[in-house]
Symmetry: C2
Subunit: 203 residues, 2 copies
Amino acid sequence: MTELEKGPTGRRRGRGARERILSASQQLFREQGINRTGMDQLCAAAQVSKRTAYEHFTGKDELVAEYLRRFDPSVLSGVFDRTDLTPRERLLAAFDIPPTTPLCPYIGAAVELHDPQHPASQYARDYKKAVAARLADTAREAGAADPEQLGEQLALLIDGAAARTRVLNADAFPTAAAIATVLIDAAIPATTGDDRRGEEVSS
Amino acid sequence: MTELEKGPTGRRRGRGARERILSASQQLFREQGINRTGMDQLCAAAQVSKRTAYEHFTGKDELVAEYLRRFDPSVLSGVFDRTDLTPRERLLAAFDIPPTTPLCPYIGAAVELHDPQHPASQYARDYKKAVAARLADTAREAGAADPEQLGEQLALLIDGAAARTRVLNADAFPTAAAIATVLIDAAIPATTGDDRRGEEVSS
DNA sequence: CGTTAAGCACACAGATCGGTGTACATAATA
DNA sequence: TATTATGTACACCGATCTGTGTGCTTAACG
């Protein structure tokens, strides 16, 4: 009965409360981590009373899961839909991440929450599988011999770059991209049309 | 003035206190994570009074750093010293991790502590660099064209496998080993003696 | 107007956190 | 035996955590 988006006309005073909470989560959870960000601080940053926050979310766990769901990172959304690139270029573009990204939040959540059954951990798993699947699709499009394997390999490279960037405090994505080039070149026969752009593969 | 290891003969009643604390750390920090393991629980598991723990360590931070330092994982110690393997086999052996390992604790510490200046984070960085250097040495021994690059690449694969194993809750090291095989084959000229075992390279 | 949804301010509960203070016990040494 | 190092038992501190309870305000609608 929250009736948040319905109604004939617009009413509801500050209907952006939920959005402000999630927006503050994006910033604080990423900057400070999940465990080190208290609900008090988060509500203050969102300019929302704590009472209101707990009327929108049953608890911090649910909020964390929603925060992860709201996060659509560059990888999934931007890269795969670019029909101006060849499939091979799209596979490599997944490693061109903006330097603003401090760490893959899915890995962060899985490590911080430390419970594979946590809703956020489950979503992180689903998301990572989805990325691997998308990579496999693109690999198939690019004519790779074993698309599933290449997708899984590239996904591992992305995660490795993210983890290593975090630990070493230095950008590891160029290294990952170099490996990706080797793998892609090895997996895709040279005869296969590399410069086809955005065309569908028949089967 | 602790005089823990000195003295003409052995005295000191329960001189295993420090060891018990660190031993309990190994178990609990890995099972539950660092942040979710309180000092109360840790001291109880170590059968050590909290007072004693804080006479051995100035605080939890120092304990965490020591815990990381004590952790010598299979990778560094076991693999590189095996003269029964060719250099190439040693590089691949780094991906044969026992399934008992839940997650690389260095990545875990870096994510959980979330402060690159934390002593444990610094050590994690040093350790990861050392592993990459050892891999590079072995790659040089194996006759790789660009040993430093190959070492960094293999290190990234290991971290990727660790991170992905954690997030997906499924062993990702076979995938990493497959990539490693490709990289090693590509980087090491086939003419180079692959079956030399444990010999030194002149330069 | 009155009703109702939405939110705020703020105190507070209960737990846990890292860390200390104090008084006492034990064992090896001198 | 006396001393000293080492450790225990346990209460306790202040801070912080997630989460509630309560009463008040504001705004949209009828």
